[in-house]
């Protein structure tokens, strides 16, 4: 503030200059403050809560140290949630990347109607996970969905009731999530493919390399940054996965499809374990951080070099 009083603009042009210097900072301030408060203020509060003995209400008089974290990792539901996350994340990331890359290569062959196909592939991602989740749930329900239709068509022995079986229910969520995100991963890869220098490809073609070799040896290795971005985006979506699970199984049957986000929500509000809920949220934060911090670091370094 002191600086402002020192500059007493005499002439109009000087004053305008001072204003023009100041305005950018002034208009940036509200956004900066809001994001700062939202991210760090609220997360700090959650961290503090995770060390308190809060149950139904926040309780800042009893402190339990790492007690909540110990109870968390001793709780079978949290272990289930972590296991589900491991299954879900690995399958989701691998299958989406493979399908996305395949679709992108298909579209990259300058096919007819690419302009219409791109939005079609993308549509699932633009739709609410809740809507698609409910639709998938009905579709996979043995009584009214796929199994029912197959039976009516005369294939009496057809059986597909994964969504009702604790052991397999998590895989139905993988199916829906893959359907939802593959097209979107395709769009990322397609942009990467289009970014590859045409000269390199032409040179390889002249040398007699087959299309398959060109992709395997030249294009795909060049797309490493895209793979990294796709991995980060998919991994953080997997860790945060909440709405699709809520819509499809709501964690069921039993607790078979609980994910960390679901655990957090159910323990905080359903079981009045606010302290434990907070500690599970912090664990999720740490997971996300461990993915995005190295990524941001590499992005920043690349930006500096450029």
């Amino acid at each position: 503030m002191a600086d402002v009083t020192v500059i007493v603009p005499r002439r109009a042009s000087e004053r305008r200059l001072a204003i023009q210097e100041l305005i950018p900072k002034l208009v940036l301030a509200p956004s900066f403050a809001l994001i700062l408060l939202f991210v760090y203020g609220f997360i700090l509060f959650t961290i503090v809560l995770s060390f308190s003995g809060s149950k139904l209400l926040p309780d800042f008089s009893t402190w339990v140290g790492f007690g909540n974290y110990q109870r968390l990792f001793a709780h079978p539901n949290w272990i289930t949630a972590l296991k589900n996350l491991a299954i879900f994340a690995s399958l989701y990331i691998v299958i989406c990347s493979a399908l996305g890359l395949g679709l992108a290569i298909l579209l990259d062959q300058k096919i007819r109607g690419e302009g219409a196909l791109r939005p079609i592939y993308l549509y699932p991602m633009a739709l609410s996970f809740i809507v698609t989740g409910v639709a998938w749930k009905w579709f996979l329900d043995p009584g009214i969905g796929l199994e029912h239709v197959m039976h009516q068509w005369g294939w009496e022995s057809f059986s597909f009731r994964w969504i009702k079986e604790g052991k397999y229910a998590i895989y139905t969520i993988v199916i829906a999530a893959v359907w939802q995100s593959s097209g979107f991963v395709m769009a990322m890869f397609l942009a990467g493919l289009r970014g590859v220098d045409n000269e390199v490809i032409k040179a390889a073609q002249i040398d007699g390399a087959s299309t398959f070799t060109i992709y395997r040896r030249i294009i795909i290795p060049l797309m490493r940054p895209v793979f990294l971005s796709a991995f980060v985006v998919l991994a953080h979506l997997a860790i945060k996965s909440y709405d699709l699970v809520v819509a499809m199984t709501d964690g069921g049957p039993g607790t078979a499809t609980w994910t960390p986000a679901l655990f957090m929500q159910k323990f905080t509000f359903g079981r009045n374990e606010m302290g434990m809920g907070a500690s599970s949220a912090i664990i999720m934060m740490i997971m996300i951080f461990s993915i995005i911090i190295p990524y941001l670091y590499s992005e920043l370094r690349m930006g500096r070099r450029a």
């Binding site: 900066f32 509060f45 549509y123 609410s128 980060v232």
Partner: protein, 276 residues
């Protein structure tokens, strides 16, 4: 010969791509078609694809039974309200970063974007308590506020990338000609910024429309948007399929239309700039 072979290859690839497109779109298409069937027809064997008696009765029943329009109205208020407010805050911020960049601008942007990747559960408890204590639970004001907060980084960043494309020389030229700051904004900047702002608006409306973590946890009925409404169709029951389809179709119709026009922004926004 070679030509014929490459022709055949091309046809195969095109056919494959369209087949994949059909598979991807099929569930959506099926849902839309089912919404125009009677409940009996929705279960008929074999399922009728296009040749059935088209009916609008499901739409009427959904509205009558569950006051669909109120949820739709909530979705509109929340999505557009939060987007317009976010633009109000973000346009000056993005403008400042694009035209008066400092050494820190890039880092600042990247940091802002990274906050969008944070898990929402990290802020759920404090926000829930805050909302409860100030009576914001299940209110339009609260939902507009929270969606404004969570989408602000992406709005600023989208606008920044668009503003960055406006050549700075034009502004300097205007300044040379003695344009005041106000005139500079109204006559030079605004006309060139409108397309970018419109694109950002479109993307953010879609994001806000689809948001469900916060809407499911902070609303119950009064301010509940369509996502909460659809989630309430929880247990699959027979003879209910067509009505659910009608409700879902109404919930996604605006997105299907907006999405067609904003596919580029969608990819850009959803991948946090990994794809330009």
């Amino acid at each position: 010969m070679a030509r014929q072979r490459s022709m055949r290859r091309r046809v195969t690839i095109t056919a494959l791509a369209w087949l994949a497109g059909f598979i991807v779109f099929f569930p959506i298409l099926w849902m839309i078609l089912t919404s125009f069937k009677t409940e009996l027809e929705a279960f008929s064997t074999p399922p009728s694809f296009l040749f059935f008696d088209w009916t609008l009765e499901n739409y009427g029943i959904v509205q009558e039974r569950s006051n669909y329009l109120r949820y739709a109205m909530n979705s509109v208020i929340i999505a557009f309200g939060s987007t317009l407010l976010a633009l109000l805050i973000a346009v000056p911020a993005a403008w400042a970063m694009a035209f008066a960049p400092t050494k820190r601008t890039k880092d600042l942007l990247l940091w802002m974007l990274s906050t969008k990747m944070m898990p929402a559960v990290g802020a759920l408890i404090p926000i829930y308590l805050l909302f409860r204590d100030s009576g914001l639970l299940d209110s339009h004001v609260g939902m507009v506020g929270i969606l404004l907060l969570i989408n602000l980084p992406i709005v600023i960043w989208m606008l920044f990338t668009y503003f960055k494309e406006i050549p700075g020389e034009i502004l300097e030229a205007a300044r040379m000609d003695g344009a005041t700051l106000w005139r500079e904004i109204v006559y030079v900047l605004a006309p060139m910024a409108v397309p970018g702002i419109a694109s950002t608006l479109l993307l953010n409306v879609i994001l806000a429309w689809n948001e469900s973590f916060w809407t499911l946890n902070l609303t119950t009925s009064k301010a509940a948007p369509l996502t909460a409404f659809i989630a309430s169709y929880s247990s699959p029951e027979g003879l209910f399929w067509a009505k659910l389809s009608a409700a879902s179709t109404m919930a996604i119709a605006p997105i299907l239309i907006l999405g067609w026009f904003s596919q580029r922004q969608l990819v850009r926004g959803l991948t946090f700039g990994a794809v330009k």
